[in-house]
Symmetry: D2
Subunit: 230 residues, 4 copies
């Protein structure tokens, strides 16, 4: 991938997106950082790729820190809350103390049922009739919340307090920057089948559209040694 | 302070608290860590205290990392969001993917007005009549949110989706652990007059009830060289 | 283990040691931190231990961050260099800009041969005659270095420059503090058979004497799921 | 600065260097990251520069994390030891377990005297005659060390043990990567007059040749609000 193609914006959910704004490095940067250990240099594609696979297979993760990805993300607040538990990222996020504009809310296309096996997961979809019913209720709820919010703002109530009425499907926007090693850790956890669908679509998009394009060899090794696909 | 007094729980806002669950170290641990630099030891209270002041005045912060505080916190979600931007803490938080129980919501005692000078702050209180009006609207809004939430849960909708309707004044609970240096950084930012009132009460309580009790010398130096009070 | 037994000092190599100075938490702190996720509490030893095993088996590592170990370490400089690549620890170390006293040097009991299979490892011991010869050369070399060093110090040369003549088997002393999760990561890498013998004895001692005593359940789970012993 | 000029290598001390291998971002990336707070965009050079100054004056440091610098460094071991106390950097360093080649040693141009005011500093130069004397002694010492080292290597002693004889003026090489905020912290501490001369030349070179070129506005603000030059 070349930088001239940037930014690349991938729309997700009903109103969200993930955007690659910038990156630093490529597969060769990883190989060269690893070769500093013995003061070596690139030895051609075949040996370089072999070394890169060796690194990931044996969890020699520090050379993968030499690559950086900078993303702009618009996602529901509950997704951002899971995301920001990853503490090695750098973040700058919209603050609802500063602005009351551009408020959007996530309305799921599909309501899922609570899993009975796994306390933290969903499992299968609700039946057709419930789908329509809860979508309508959600929309009404959001409208009521916005109505109360706007009344408060119009009456001069501080934004930092008025925001309290807004539900957790509110979209938020942030810039997030992370190195290759910590991005792989994020993807491993958030592409997992136990991750919530709404964050999984972000992790999947980052992997498919950005990680594979910037680090094709690392992506292959990641599937083999981290995701452990066949 | 001795560990036999623990835990110490300080109620905050209408239904929140901050609780000191455990700590490690004292002012002397900081002094002794600093003295490793020249293989020295404690030299008595007067010289030890003088050294501790010197450390903070010159931003030699690493010895303060040798002390730890472990807290349990119940606070509104928007407070937790500000809190967790502090990335050096360790956190374990209740997950609304796991449980739909013990839902509480923060209802402010006082509605504040938007500052016109400072975009991110509030300034003064709304008038009496508005106070009652917005408190009532907030309560109704929470009831509606809970009603919709419970209907979803009863219909078998996954907790991870149903939680989306809950407003951001929802209380959350977490265990947070941090070293003395990073706690001072948190307190400096969150005890500041520009910090939102609802997080300031937590920072103030941590300082007054826990930090001063565990690290009395450091507290004095903190006021002098970090808060820069007269 | 109770705190009244502290500090516990384990002599290592010819003049080094690792000392447990303080710790915070126990196996139950880990279990209770994990149970905050669903607002639960301890459920008795059998269920608690089962949960702790589950956590480590599934790499749910954040609750292990709630435990802290504070060590004082005296080790050769090249060991300290490997140690301090672990960046999540807090460190305070003797500075040879400050003091020219208490200089000790590591003289190996046994000289090992370079492995031919593994570029970074040793493999087997040198023969008897070489042992004596290199030990003697090492001792002479240290004496010469110290002699030059002392001449420089006596002539008023700055300590920060004079130290340059001291060889890398010089002992250094530091206080290091780390949480349970990151200590397990350190032990996994440094107890490994590919780790250099001189750091392995430190990692082994920390595990055998401190980790097992403070976190007996975690130690069992660590052997099973991290070290993967039979 | 454009990437086509990279790498830029600045020779330092007698055989060292610092090299800018790659970077990500510019002053505008910082401004734009900050403006995510209120969903704003660049407002032209004058306002952008003013905002950037505001950020640094008020220690709003997170937007500066959005910029990255990747360096290759060859420096004496005791300089690398000070450098790597900065724990937020990513590092890959030559390992003397792997290779016994390319051994270089720092011979100071000037021997400095121990400061009597400040325990950790040097102050003024030794007189002419001592200069020559200690330089000669240093050279002899290095030769002896190398001689012993090579004898050990030739006899098959493991590299990981043989390296112990090498003095601390040995050069080491590493790749180091850091964000703009943490680089400013490094520069503030290591460009300080109390920093050892041998690391100060590295910090100065990074500032003069790389930081100023990549982030000219930030450099101005850094001098004003962090270094507090007139």
């Amino acid at each position: 991938m070349t930088k001239t193609e940037l930014p690349i914006n991938i729309p997700l959910l009903d109103k969200g997106y993930v955007e690659l704004q910038d990156f630093m490095g490529d597969d060769l940067s990883i190989v060269n950082a690893a070769r500093v250990s013995f003061l070596g240099e690139s030895k051609g594609d075949i040996k370089d790729k072999k070394l890169l696979n060796y690194l990931l297979r044996h969890a020699h993760t520090s050379p993968f820190e030499m690559v950086e990805f900078k993303l702009r993300v618009k996602c529901p607040l509950f997704v951002a809350r899971q995301w920001m538990r990853h503490r090695v990222w750098s973040y700058n996020e919209v603050s609802r103390r500063y602005t009351s504009e551009e408020l959007d809310f996530y309305i799921p296309e599909t309501w899922r049922l609570q899993s009975t096996d796994n306390k933290q997961c969903s499992s299968g979809d609700a039946e057709q009739q419930m789908q329509a019913q809860f979508t309508q209720q959600m929309q009404q709820h959001v409208e009521q919340a916005l109505d109360t919010y706007n009344k408060m703002i119009d009456a001069g109530i501080a934004r930092e307090q008025a925001r309290m009425v807004l539900p957790q499907n509110m979209y938020t926007t942030f810039v997030g920057k992370v190195d290759g090693h910590n991005l792989m850790h994020f993807m491993k956890l958030r592409m997992d089948e136990h991750a919530q669908y709404e964050i999984r679509v972000y992790a999947d998009a980052i992997y498919e559209h950005f990680f594979k394009a910037v680090l094709p060899w690392s992506a292959e090794a990641f599937e083999k040694y981290v995701l452990k696909k066949a």
